[in-house]
């Protein structure tokens, strides 16, 4: 219903691929590598169902036809929703699927149905126009109520609006058609809704390509867990493709090629072969120890977003969960109950036992809004009411989560991670909450093991008081994304200054080093769980700086292990101390590249770590 103005995508090269047809121009687009993997297939445009609707009056004779059209659309959409509910139940559980029952109920709402029928019958409008006006009015009313919950509901209604409109289109896109062909389809859209992705059979989808979104969008995260390659943030790719176009999706490098030429296809096949070979090879070594050649053991953990991902991480050679972002439980619906949370946490903890599992307490706010909890319209949300600040203000929500965590810790392998801590007061208050919750549970007769408690180091203030923090925590986890953003005062979502977001800036490396030194003095272990821990050059620097544990997406664990097994810790430590004295990120990158690029390129992990760029 709203059309955003789209900026043109960055076109890297474009030439006619020897074809005379105007449509099949070879086009290379660069976007965000949202989910790794390679795929080639036919484009299936998933029309955003942003259909244009025109007001059209109809003669009396067509009234019955239009009424039937609407009623059939309701029946069809009801069936569609029932199917989605069924699939979703098997995948995410009954609780999360109840939303689809609500959708069905809304679909049969008397106010909506009578309104539409009346408009067709009495005002002689088309069914589509009637739905547009009547349901559109509800959407507007919901949007005008200033609560996050209502905004979410408005989005649900838009989802329904789109479904109904598509159901009334004669030649509307029917997804099944895409899967008639042998090749898997590459779905292309302006944006994908999570409900749509949930309803797909991943075996039929080769990849997703979309105009909007980044690495942290809900859709990207789901796709990673389903192992579907995704390139997002392409801005206007949906308008550039035609159904049936051949398209190559490189989710590792963040690139798509529409109408590739023979060279592209040959290169794709080669890369796919390399990818498969490297994957096989890495899999064979996944049980080997992540130890440097001179015997320093680096713990490798996995970051997960869905509880069910825990089932697979050991297959990738990770020996624990370094970060489970609990807010993903809160995105799906309103605040989950203590029991629902406990079930999710317990699944992860018991699957991984006796290996450690780090669960981060609710990190809402910033760019991650949770309905019913976070405030809207902050001028500067990243520095606003978010994360631990929200938790300490909403003690009931926080305590529910803590109790769920403590109850789930039946195997004693839980590590509670407190995000965004910027002062001792917050740590004290949070620890007091944990103590209180544990006491209450024990009083109620529960057997509650003690959980280790750590803080995220992601605000420069935490680094400045890191010696004090180290005396009172069991572990540190450095969140590099926020630490870089706050240390360099660079908003990572601001396109004007993306080149200033420098993970290897001496200030950032120095922050990490100070943290490690202070922590080790108190016998506290340091983990890094941001994007940095999956980048080869960053891995070398982090290990050199003395970081004990790295946590990353499960796919990166095997490749990182291979890097670690190929290097000497003593050498890396010297390197780290050397680069700390350098003036800027450029010099550091150049030095690292000269010293290590060759070694890393020879490891045969290129499919998993992206390109080593020449600096």
């Amino acid at each position: 219903m709203t059309t955003s103005t789209k900026k043109p995508a960055k076109r890297v090269s474009s030439s006619s691929g020897g074809s005379t047809e105007k449509k099949s121009v070879r086009t290379v687009l660069v976007g965000v590598p949202a989910s790794p993997g390679l795929a080639m297939g036919r484009v299936f445009p998933v029309v955003n169902r942003e259909v244009s609707v025109v007001e059209e009056s109809i003669p009396e004779s067509r009234v019955a036809t239009e009424e039937q059209l609407f009623l059939k659309a309701v029946t069809k959409t009801t069936k569609e929703l029932a199917k989605i509910k069924e699939i979703s139940e098997s995948r995410t559980g009954v609780q999360d699927s109840m939303i689809f029952s609500t959708h069905v109920m809304i679909l049969h709402d008397p106010g909506l149905n009578n309104g539409v029928m009346k408009m067709i019958k009495e005002e002689h409008k088309t069914a589509r126009w009637a739905v547009h006006v009547v349901l559109g009015a509800y959407i507007e009313k919901f949007e005008s109520i200033a609560s996050a919950q209502m905004q979410d509901k408005a989005m649900d209604l838009r989802d329904l609006y789109n479904r109904l409109m598509a159901a009334m289109e004669d030649s509307g896109p029917v997804l099944e058609n895409a899967f008639a062909s042998e090749e898997s389809a590459i779905l292309v859209a302006h944006e994908f809704l999570p409900s749509f992705l949930m309803a797909l059979n991943p075996e039929h989808v080769g990849g997703l390509v979309m105009d909007t979104g980044g690495r942290t969008s809900h859709v990207a995260i789901l796709a990673r867990s389903l192992q579907i390659p995704v390139v997002s943030g392409l801005r206007n790719v949906a308008a550039m493709v035609t159904k049936g176009d051949t398209i190559i999706v490189d989710g590792t490098g963040g690139m798509v090629i529409i109408n590739p030429n023979e060279d592209d296809i040959r290169r794709f096949r080669e890369r796919q072969e390399v990818f498969e070979r490297q994957r096989q090879e890495l899999f064979t070594m996944r049980q080997l120890e992540p130890m440097t050649r001179d015997g320093k053991y680096i713990v490798l953990h996995a970051n997960i977003e869905l509880p069910t991902e825990a089932d697979k991480v050991m297959d990738f050679g990770a020996t624990g969960i370094g970060l489970y972002r609990s807010e993903f439980l809160f995105f799906k619906k309103d605040v989950p109950s203590c029991e629902e949370q406990q079930e999710a946490y317990q699944h992860i903890l018991e699957t991984m036992a006796p290996n450690p599992v780090t669960i981060r307490t609710l990190d809402a706010g910033g760019d991650k809004l949770v309905s019913g909890i976070t405030a809207m319209d902050e001028a500067n949300p990243f520095m606003g009411w978010r994360s631990i600040r929200v938790c300490l203000d909403k003690e009931d929500v926080f305590c529910d989560q803590l109790k769920a965590l403590l109850l789930a810790n039946t195997k004693g392998n839980l590590r509670i991670l407190l995000p965004m801590v910027s002062g001792m007061g917050e740590l004290h208050k949070a620890k007091e909450c944990i103590r209180k919750c544990r006491e209450e549970l024990i009083e109620q007769g529960h057997d509650v093991a003690e959980a280790r408690v750590g803080v995220m180091i992601e605000v420069p203030a935490a680094v400045m008081i890191v010696e004090k923090l180290a005396k009172e925590v069991d572990f540190f986890s450095i969140g590099t994304n926020d630490l870089i953003q706050f240390t360099l005062a660079v908003d990572r979502t601001n396109e004007l200054i993306t080149d200033m977001f420098q993970p290897h800036h001496p200030a950032v490396l120095s922050m990490i080093y100070q943290t490690v030194v202070a922590a080790h003095k108190e016998g506290v272990r340091v983990s890094v769980c941001g994007e940095m821990s999956a980048d080869p050059m960053s891995v070398l620097l982090l290990v050199g700086l003395g970081v004990d544990e790295l946590s990353m997406t499960p796919w990166s664990v095997m490749a990182t292990k291979k890097i670690i097994r190929s290097i000497n810790f003593e050498d890396l430590h010297d390197t780290a101390l050397t680069v700390l004295q350098m003036d800027d990120a450029e010099s550091i990158n150049e030095y690292m590249h000269k010293k290590y690029a060759q070694t890393i390129m020879e490891l045969g992990i290129s499919s998993f770590v992206g390109q080593i760029e020449k600096k």
């Binding site: 809304i106 709402d109 008397p110 909506l112 919901f142």
Partner: protein, 90 residues
């Protein structure tokens, strides 16, 4: 006609799911049923209308039930509110 005032005692108020549970009762009933909150009156058989009232926890809600099965409907609604819509109490 029966007029019954009930208090919302679940923690999250009448969001989508409790609204659905109300309509599960009112929808199939023969009686005409209205829901009144904060000066607004709406058809209680419409989930969209009930949701749109955005009724928070702790509120008093008035039902006006008129028809053959009015007593039965009121009893069911009372039970539903009493059970906090099977959610956590506030």
């Amino acid at each position: 006609m029966i007029v019954k005032t009930l208090t919302v005692t679940n923690k999250l108020g009448i969001h989508a799911r409790p609204a659905g549970m109300i309509v599960d009762i009112t929808g199939p009933a023969k009686s005409d049923i209205s829901i009144v909150f904060d000066g607004s009156k709406a058809n209680a058989k419409s989930i969209l209308n009930v949701m749109m009232l955005a009724i928070p926890s702790g509120s008093e809600v008035r039902f006006e039930v008129d028809g053959d099965d009015e007593e039965q409907v009121v009893a069911q609604l009372e039970q539903l509110f009493h059970d906090n819509f099977n959610e956590e109490a506030c």
